[in-house]
Symmetry: C2
Subunit: 535 residues, 2 copies
């Protein structure tokens, strides 16, 4: 027995008391020696060592996350920096639309956002994975407060127009039934010795036992109606307190019905590395990052400046631009170096004198279509009626997803959900519509999942990325082939011009790609400068 008068037992006493074997201790030592390998090569914010010659200047095109990261770090390292930005705000695709905002897309359609105070749509990025260290560190540096983003909600819906008479199913039921049937089938195969070569001896028993708990199987390794399966998929009637509170188990789908749901991608949505818990979002909208960054850079950024030409010579780079406050004007800015973060969809339309390899690379990357629709409703019926708090419902209709706000849970008053996040052909079709028609489409399709839509709808806003003036597309779409041929050529510094942005990364469409591509580009540019490439 432990000696109660001795509040600090020696390690030996502890080992004795709680039965820790010497083998365990040896393993512990071994574990310490092995260490904990980091899964990322990122080791913290970039540090540019050494100073450039006084006055060395870098002109940065685009005040998105890549451009602002570069400006921030280069200025710190001693460079004279300036950013030219098309919009009248910082952030680029890091952007939130709030009530009072006005947005005009290509083609001229103008929308006035009428969301209530505090509500928003993130037309671009909306979630941050835990391993996107550069984004998280940028938020920390800027003081942007983060809150959890809920990717997976077991109580959200999977909706397939062709299955279950079009009736949406709760994610947890399909997920439990898929796992249950898979576990039952594999158990059967093992018991029939169909996998003798692959699973032998002790492993056979371990796997059978594991599948039982993993798949919530009942007796005889079968996935059946009962407490085990209902403890995953939910009950016909939930357990409660007192008399008459006995739970009633629910009936699992058959294997055939489960397969008919064709819901595999929805089932693993939260298992993909980029969507795993714990994800984050900035409090108040993703655009808080760009907005705060822009404020921190202050006078470094010149807004409403539309780039018209980029021309380098032996001693520097001259960039021509139009002051959008003075239509038709042509101004120029000159610097020793230029870091261009314009999307390739825009850059490929501009005159720029780079070598044939970079030129080919700039033209090699088409941009994805994507459409997001934000819908404001008079009340948060998804919470109040259906107990859905955050997370995403998936559908086979063109809106593809409905995402519920991961903030202000249980609040009264209005709420904004993401009523469409379309890609592919659906996005192309929605892009061809007017904003009002996109909103109507989101309502029409969304009504099939939430019948409350029509009665509760208040107002909406729709962003089709192919019509967004400053990008004309959502994000660069690389293939294995184009990457093999063009990627390195895109990233190599060409004379006095370097490129950065999500398109110059292996994680396109993610903010992490934009920031780390800026780190990489300015790191090499700085080495270049220090090595004496004379301005």
């Amino acid at each position: 027995m432990p000696d109660a008068s001795n509040p600090s037992p020696s390690r030996r006493e502890l080992l004795r008391m709680i039965g820790l074997s010497a083998g365990g201790a040896a393993m512990y030592q071994a574990m310490i020696q092995l260490g904990f390998a980091a899964e990322s090569s990122y080791t913290g914010p970039i540090k540019l060592e050494g100073r450039p010659r006084a006055g060395t200047s870098v002109l940065i095109l685009g005040a998105g996350l890549a451009g602002m990261t570069a400006a921030w770090e280069l200025r710190k390292a001693g460079y004279k920096v300036k950013i030219l930005e098309y919009n009248d705000r910082a952030g680029g695709r890091n952007w939130s639309l709030y009530g009072g905002d006005t947005y005009t897309e290509l083609g001229g359609a103008t929308q006035h956002c009428r969301f209530d105070k505090g509500l928003y749509l993130n037309p671009g990025p909306w979630r941050i994975p835990y391993h996107h260290h550069a984004v998280l560190d940028t938020c920390k540096m800027l003081g942007v407060k983060l809150e959890p983003f809920i990717q997976v909600n077991y109580n959200a819906f999977l909706h397939n127009s062709q299955a279950f008479g079009g009736k949406p199913q709760r994610l947890r039921t399909i997920k439990a039934d898929a796992q249950g049937h898979i576990a039952e089938l594999l158990s059967k195969a093992i018991q029939q010795n169909a996998l003798e070569a692959a699973v032998t001896g002790e492993d056979r028993e371990k796997l059978l036992e594991g599948l039982r708990s993993w798949g919530a199987l009942g007796k005889d390794h079968r996935y059946v109606k009962g407490t085990a399966s209902s403890n995953r998929r939910g009950f016909e009637k939930d357990p409660g307190g007192g008399l008459s509170a006995r739970p009633i188990p629910s009936q699992p789908l058959t294997l055939q019905d489960m397969l008919s749901a064709d819901a595999w991608s929805g089932l693993v949505a939260g298992e993909n590395y980029e969507m795993q818990t714990t994800m984050f979002q900035p409090v108040g909208g993703m655009g808080m990052i760009g907005k705060t960054f822009g404020k921190a850079l202050g006078e470094v950024i010149r807004y409403r400046s539309k780039i018209t030409e980029i021309r380098q010579d032996a001693s520097g780079v001259t960039v021509s631009y139009e002051d959008l406050a003075a239509p038709g004007s042509t101004l120029t800015e000159r610097a020793d170096w230029c870091l261009c973060t314009l999307p390739l969809s825009i850059l490929s339309q501009l005159p720029i004198n780079v070598g044939p390899k970079m030129e080919a690379a700039i033209s090699a990357v088409p941009y994805n279509a994507s459409v997001k629709v934000g819908l404001q409703f008079k009340r948060r019926f998804w919470e109040q009626d259906e107990r859905i708090y955050g997370g995403i419902s998936y559908t086979d209709t063109p809106i593809r997803s409905i995402a519920y706000p991961a903030t202000d849970y249980f609040s009264d008053g209005k709420g904004v959900l993401l009523g469409a996040y379309a890609g592919g052909q659906g996005a192309v079709e929605l892009t061809s519509m007017t904003p009002e028609q996109r909103i109507e489409a989101a309502l029409e399709y969304g009504s099939r999942i939430h019948p409350q839509y029509r009665a509760e709808f208040d107002n909406g806003i729709a962003v089709a990325w192919h019509r967004v003036p400053f990008t004309q597309g959502c994000a660069g779409r690389w293939t294995e082939d184009t990457r093999a041929e063009h990627y390195d050529n895109l990233c190599q510094i060409d004379g006095r011009i370097a490129l950065a942005g999500e398109h110059a990364s292996y994680i396109p469409a993610w903010m992490e790609g934009a920031i780390t591509s800026a780190h990489d580009a300015i790191g090499r540019l700085h080495q270049h400068v220090l090595a004496g490439a004379r301005p």
Copy 2:
């Protein structure tokens, strides 16, 4: 093409534009008619219809969630209510320990909590499932603000002393590899036609295709090193931006190694109905519910009152109690009815004149052992060093879990994590130790998962539920047999006495059980009173 001059297309136009078939619309109608069945029988806060005779009184024992719920609703319905409570605070097991709190356990050991401001340990309940409607509604009613509780963190650890040389593994790697190997094995069995009877025809192809995406299989339905598997389990080197940012895939575990981890329960921890996303916790600690409820009830609660006897007669119930401020005192309180929410572990030690069936039921339920240890560290190294934001690591050592705070992410300064949540034999062993020894054990075992423990440790507090004076146990442990024999007898009103609490529910240990058992008991009591059982 849509007519851009008409911003509000008719439904017919929309159908044409986006190719919605008549079949789809028919399905939509069918879906609406089918409606969306609620999964719970709970339809909102209880409403007691009809008024009792003026002055009808109910004495409630225990100011936990069951007792306070009953007092709140009975008072509203017109009853005269009073609660006698052992502690000097409301909430019972709904309880958070903060810096400045003092806690004395059975045996006399006293701990002074030295956590920094804002940090806490929840010795009892600590998370709220989305389908625990009664708890969520109670929080809403009281104005207790909720924030997401993170149950699953893919970047947290699974630790098995006997596997991988004791080196903890990231949850995401074991999870991905289990799923991958299961998918590969089942695919193999299907391709060998080993499951011909169970999976036929078109389903065979659907399942094979589904398993490929679900298991992240590569070519030939094999789970191998490559982009597909690394997009689940993480990379050897993460993708990044610029040159030299090419990702390096990680090497999956073999089936044998994956089985050696014996991690099945950790893999499904977030898939159980009670642990599925989205879960919640009150901002500032679970104890905020009890604290706020107690304040709302005010004078209704008499604190520091230790029940010593419960005696009913033909016209009412007399309860004797000791005023803990006056040791040895005996006071009495009389009412027409008594609702007793004392844990059975306490009630079974008290004289109470109920019938033999309820008496047998009161003695039939043993109480679980459970130990929780809160550890304050000088910095949030789990976030800063290991990028673990909330969630739980699992270990086969007696501490069983390490849970990371799901609030104040990325904050500087100190942090408190749950350093042990022991049950079973481990809890019994930890209970036999002094609080200081429990903390030392938590540090010793926890160091095997987080080597930073010793250097960063600041202070701790340990609660062993079998030594908690007001419950002497964690929660009622029912078996199928005891429930069949005793449960209804426990819940039936005996003369003028009714019981409520998590022990009188089908969801023991959960606050939802306590609240819904109170709803059920007072609902029946009220009917009883209205039906003329004369006081």
